[in-house]
Symmetry: C2
């Protein structure tokens, strides 16, 4: 279940803006805010089954967007490459690591992944 | 006009897969293949005006996807940061630049941007 939540959160981060307002709100409440289907149903004054269907449709769309565009996967590969660059710089001899150029390069690489 | 072609090509590279087959084919022929509206109209056996409308709708959608998701802009910023990292490494003293770690880091950075 945790894997699923993380996966949906990751896809939602990229493609959430393409969903309808209601799909967005339900996914935020359920996956990011941890609300139960019953709580969301009460908020929207619809049945628990309706919330279930909205969530399911939203999730399906997120998965389809990734199947078509693959941008989450592209970011994953890029981050792996950036991690390798950091490892290279961190493996430099101590006197080189202390140079301001190395320091600045490492700081920029951190900005790329800590987002 | 060249600016527009480059912009459409860039957006199409990210979001093209979300368009219909016909929108994709028209954009590829017109912007990437340089076919005229008349040539595309002949290929699809539709009017020149119909091709114009398909292109216009496809372009609108690409612009809307970018307005919502901003992934082309995100990549542009990332590439700027990567260029700064490369500049830092290229500014290292010659004896440091010759180290295999620096060399490998630069090669990995090239892989990130030459795609």
């Amino acid at each position: 279940m945790l894997d699923k939540v993380l996966r949906i959160a990751e896809l939602y981060d990229f493609y959430g803006a393409l969903l309808t307002d209601k799909q967005q709100r339900c996914i935020e409440m359920h996956y990011l805010g941890d609300d139960s289907l019953a709580e969301i149903a009460e908020e929207f004054r619809v049945s628990r089954q309706a919330v279930h269907d909205i969530l399911r449709r939203g999730e399906q769309l997120l998965v389809e967007y990734e199947e078509k565009l693959g941008l989450v996967e592209r970011q994953r590969r890029d981050r792996e490459t950036i991690a390798k660059v950091r490892a290279c710089l961190e493996a430099l001899p101590a006197e080189t690591r202390r140079l301001p150029e190395t320091d600045q390069a490492l700081e920029l690489l951190r900005q790329l992944t800590d987002r």
